[in-house]
């Protein structure tokens, strides 16, 4: 059923028809018709941000915590270029976003018009797909297709660039229908090849030192995928580790949980990855933070890899059983086939393996020396975790990027998927605060905390103002070490402790800053007062900037340094970081 309307009205109508309730945006000349159409309806609520990068991270937090696509609306030129970081972030972490960018009128395209930029050119390599709409009658198809592409297969960001004259033009709108979703060339494969899944289960049935290595793909495949992962783990009795992006898919409170793996993963997870005989990768992509030195990566294992993106398979690590498909569907099949073969977990056969794992666990690789005079950052996160466990609310954690992010991954524990939002692939400082805003918009009654560093949080600090405007009671838990701690750690490791520009001089007074924004500021310096201060933060019904003054020179350990295999992980009792990495390793990042 076609209906006549303007391009701008189509945008709003399509959002409503796609079930979009919130969009994050910022107006400007080229976007005004769409803003005007928005003004005249109340189906879609607009959240006014303070910087377009903030809008993209909010949309990411919104998407990751709900499983629904996040939607962004920005103006042409600087609006679009400001969105690029978040688009790239979403591409790297496979987050479904639809970003509508306004463009100068078609007659001005190519003339270096005011606030013109080549948005589709700039975003081509940082989106899953993008469109420049030059005919209003293409707009309904493009809008619906954008949602389809963003949310299916391997999710990702999609940009729709809409010139101002197309927003004014009148055309025929139609609702999303099955036909519009049947794309001629875009057909992601969701069902895994049955033979390959059987081969995988046969390998698992013979495994003596198995490990599940799971990633963000399990989260993207929906909550049922996490349920199925739990079930398969229980059926098999195998240990489970996960990437940074996959935390929460398997409960951290389960005895089969080994902690995160990778550069700052636990000793047991990394050693088990190195020594296993069957590796079952579900929705992870052998990222370099995980593999360490490739030619020494898990040298004696047979590898199964489940991924919805065929290009992820054999890209970095050669695997023995590739399975292209949606993690949830493949997990379901694995469970069914496992059940048809046996009704026993491999408890006895893998008992020696578990014994070995227990020995590695006993090393206590996340241990740290606590102090009664200065707050240790790891301890601050542990106290925060304990305090939030007492809350009746759902708890969502976002982070910035740096040491605090890794400590959060290590010491805050997740039992559910979609409760942990972090910038993994791109490592974007400034992600966490806006992401927390986005999560809070989606879950108004939840407790949403951004575990932050004092350097990162200043990159998108202005979104505090958004939080205040929309009464979003996010808590920003700053582990303030007055350092770009992660950079400082690498300088210790690689550059003779020459701290080139890695400390935070002239920091703002975060308490006053919070007050200036209309929020609450809290500062805590003493371990004895930390619990009370955390309680004060949690009790306050509004946005809080909580400045936790922590130990300045703590290192984030364990760590697999660049150029090293998993079994050469640096453990917490290593005093001298400076002598570990050789000349070639220094060239790495």
């Amino acid at each position: 059923m076609a209906e006549k309307m303007t391009g701008a009205e189509m945008v709003i109508q399509a959002l409503a028809d796609q079930g979009v309730e919130h969009i994050f945006g910022y107006p400007g000349g080229a976007a005004l018709p769409i803003y005007d159409a928005m003004f005249q309806q109340d189906q879609v609520q607009h959240i006014l941000v303070r910087h377009e990068q903030g809008a993209t991270h909010m949309a990411e937090g919104y998407a990751r915590s709900t499983g629904k696509p996040g939607v962004v609306l920005v103006t042409s030129g600087p609006g679009a270029t400001n969105a690029v970081t978040g688009l790239t972030d979403a591409l790297m972490d496979s987050i479904p976003l639809v970003c509508i960018t306004a463009q100068v009128p078609t007659t001005l395209i190519g003339t270096d018009g005011f606030q013109e930029c080549d948005t589709v050119g700039i975003t081509r390599s940082c989106t899953k797909h993008n469109y420049l709409v030059k005919n209003v009658n293409d707009l309904p198809r493009v809008l619906h297709e954008a949602f389809h592409i963003a949310t299916t297969g391997r999710p990702g960001p999609v940009v729709i660039d809409i010139p101002k004259d197309i927003q004014f033009a009148v055309g025929e709108y139609y609702k999303p229908e099955i036909e519009t979703l049947r794309h001629a060339s875009y057909r992601p494969q969701v069902d895994g090849d049955l033979k390959a899944i059987e081969a995988a289960v046969d390998l698992m049935l013979k495994a003596e030192r198995p490990i599940f290595y799971t990633g963000g793909g399990v989260i993207n495949a929906g909550p049922e995928a996490s349920e199925n992962l739990r079930e398969l783990a229980e059926l098999t009795g195998f240990p489970v580790t996960s990437t940074l992006m996959g935390l929460g898919a398997f409960p951290a409170s389960d005895p089969q949980w080994m902690g995160m793996l990778g550069m700052h993963g636990t000793y047991e997870a990394n050693m088990a990855m190195h020594d296993c005989d069957v590796m079952i990768n579900i929705g992870a992509r052998f990222d370099d933070r995980i593999t360490g030195r490739i030619d020494a990566f898990s040298p004696n294992s047979r590898k199964i890899h489940v991924d919805i993106d065929p290009s992820s398979i054999n890209k970095i690590i050669r695997v023995d059983v590739p399975i292209v498909g949606d993690c949830n569907r493949v997990l379901e099949e694995m469970i069914r086939i496992w059940r048809s073969r046996t009704n026993q977990p491999r408890t006895e056969a893998i008992a020696p393996w578990w014994k070995q794992i227990e020995k590695w666990r006993a090393v206590g690789s996340l241990n740290f020396k606590n102090s009664d005079t200065v707050i240790k950052p790891q301890w601050a996160i542990q106290r925060l975790y304990e305090a939030t466990k007492q809350q009746s609310k759902e708890v969502y954690i976002t982070t910035e990027v740096g040491q605090h992010q890794m400590w959060a991954a290590q010491h805050f524990h997740f039992d559910k998927p979609n409760h942990w939002m972090t910038s993994g692939g791109l490592g974007t400082m400034g992600y966490g605060l806006p992401a927390a805003v986005g999560v809070q918009v989606a879950h108004p009654d939840a407790l949403v905390i951004d575990i932050a560093g004092e350097a990162s949080v200043q990159m998108t600090m202005q979104e505090m103002s958004t939080a205040v405007q929309y009464r979003l009671p996010i808590k920003i838990f700053i582990l303030n070490n007055e350092r770009m701690g992660m950079v400082r750690q690498w300088q210790d490791l690689l550059h003779g402790s020459r701290y080139a520009h890695s400390y935070s001089e002239s920091l703002p007074d975060f308490v006053k800053l919070a007050e200036a924004y209309g929020g609450r500021g809290i500062r805590c310096e003493s371990p004895a007062e930390l619990d009370a201060a955390i309680a004060e933060m949690l009790d306050y019904d509004g946005p809080v900037l909580f400045d936790v003054i922590v130990e300045k020179d703590e290192n984030c350990l364990p760590m697999i340094p660049s150029g090293k295999p998993h079994n050469e992980i640096i453990l917490p009792d290593t005093a001298n970081l400076g002598s570990i990495i050789d000349e070639k390793g220094r060239a790495l990042v």
Partner: protein, 184 residues
């Protein structure tokens, strides 16, 4: 505990590439929409793949489909990645590695301008005939030849013309198609 941590002198991105590179011809069927060529070329440059030759034109006007023939030099592992990465692009319908599939024909067309008088001119014409090059422009001191064939035939013709007064060359890049009755 970390006494075993001796520098190993190697590092993960510095692992040696052990595979030999090969030259492959890929045929890519795409929607003929604005920006599609930029998408394909952008993918090659962003991921560091080398393009040897690239030919693109709309082939089925009714269905708005274009065929891209691209010649790449890469290791077998990278060749698989190139195919899979191309297939990730939304407007890409199909990608065939014609070289891997083994049964195809390929042709290239070149326009070659040669300047000369006297003996050189006679020799130029004799060689052109041997290569079945057509004269498509002539003046008293120059020719423009059209040569069609496999790229190495064109290479040889250019090499022969070079001492005889070669002025300039324009090549179309490779067009390739599978043999037999089956289409892509």
């Amino acid at each position: 505990m970390n006494a075993h941590l001796q520098p190993t002198g190697s590092a993960y991105f510095l692992t040696q590439e052990t595979q030999q590179t090969e030259r492959h011809t890929l045929s890519v069927l795409v929607d003929n929409e604005p920006g599609i060529l930029a998408r394909v070329v952008g993918l090659f440059s962003a991921r560091g793949y080398n393009i040897e030759s690239l030919t693109v034109s709309e082939t089925e006007h009714g269905r708005r489909l274009s065929r891209i023939t691209v010649v790449v030099i890469a290791t077998p592992k990278t060749l698989v990645q190139i195919k899979l990465q191309l297939e990730r692009l939304v407007p890409v319908h199909r990608v065939h590695d014609l070289t891997a599939e083994g049964n195809y024909v390929e042709r290239e067309l070149a326009l070659i301008k040669v300047k000369g008088t006297g003996d050189h001119r006679a020799e130029t014409l004799r060689l052109a005939e041997a290569f079945r090059a057509h004269i498509i422009d002539a003046t008293v001191e120059s020719f423009v030849f059209e040569v069609t064939g496999k790229p190495d035939k064109i290479d040889s013709f250019i090499a022969l013309m070079s001492p005889l007064g070669l002025v300039e060359v324009v090549r179309t890049g490779l067009a390739a198609i599978g043999r037999g009755a089956e289409g892509m």
